[in-house]
Subunit: 199 residues, 2 copies
């Protein structure tokens, strides 16, 4: 047994949050936003109902905190040494997330909720701002290496990699196969080189 | 008064459908898919409730038929004589649709419904297949003019124009300004020229 002293301050609070957000994510993936019942989240997380209501207040509050946690814990960018290599890594990461059964359902549920709830939309936008910001330095480095024109907007390049994959998931329904990720990266890289993302 | 002979066969049926789909679209835009009540659609359309239930069956059935009507009645492609010109026209058309108060809300509602209903998803995918198919000949013509490499997938090019605009609408929340449409067209054209959409 760990002695009291080895438990970090906030350790219990952090464990409660982890359990609650895990249960909330599971429920969202299984049943969508409409099925995100706080009492059931508390039960699955083995946490008191009062704690959940007091700390998160509503399903919307839970989703907002879940998005903060997802942004904090998602995979860091990798550096392959070339713009195309970095964008390919990013494209395959996004694709894997969207085709993952739990994660894909979770994203669909949150995006659907955001279409009719302003607070969820704000949390979703903040999530993408964080994710895009995490990968944007790949483009800055490419500009420094002379692989992309000076004045290229790094955020636009990263968004351009994700966009065709989300379009398939949410709109056209075309398969999210490996080739779609390769094409998303190749198209964004070619457009970048041609100066399409110069501000 | 028109004589009986001047009324086209199916004229009344067509008018009922038009009124019902107009009312359904209004309700979807105002309240989302969850607010699409068939009795209220009938009332707004000034059509008998029984007619609506018998002909469309459910909210899902209404949305599916609305998408068929939207695909049939949406703007035809224009031919400007250059690939970039055609893709710009397409990008601005998609942007105007998504920023239009009623149309934008309608698309969000239908896309949200499609995330949790397979039949609505199938209708949505068919809608985009029709729209993308309508514009794909612009790319075929560009290949013939030598503006795009032989083997370019026309559908992928058209999807690439829409994708960044839908990504802004549904995911990142970045502004859908005129510049975003210009950039979507320019990026798709540059990627096409570079061969990123060659099968």
């Amino acid at each position: 047994m760990m002695s009291e002293g080895t438990v970090r301050p906030g350790g219990r609070t952090a464990r409660v949050r982890e359990a609650v957000l895990r249960a909330a994510g599971d429920l969202l993936a299984e049943r969508g936003f409409a099925g995100l019942d706080l009492a059931e989240v508390a039960q699955r997380a083995e946490v008191g109902k009062t704690t959940v209501y007091r700390r998160w207040g509503s399903a919307t509050g839970l989703v907002a905190d879940l998005l903060v946690e997802m942004a904090d814990s998602s995979v860091s960018r990798t550096e392959t040494g070339s713009l195309l290599g970095d964008l390919r890594t990013n494209a395959h990461l996004v694709r894997r997330t969207l085709v993952d059964e739990r994660q894909g359902a979770l994203f669909k549920a949150v995006i659907a909720a955001a279409t009719c709830d302003a607070r969820t939309a704000a949390a979703l936008h903040a999530f993408y701002a964080t994710r895009v910001g995490e990968w944007a330095p790949c483009v800055t480095a490419a500009i420094e290496r002379g692989e992309a024109p000076v004045g290229t907007d790094p955020h636009e390049v990263i968004r351009a990699v994700s966009a065709p994959l989300y379009y398939r998931l949410l709109a056209s329904g075309d398969p999210l196969d490996e080739a779609s990720a390769e094409r998303a990266a190749a198209a964004a890289e070619a457009a970048t080189r041609a100066g399409a993302f110069v501000r």
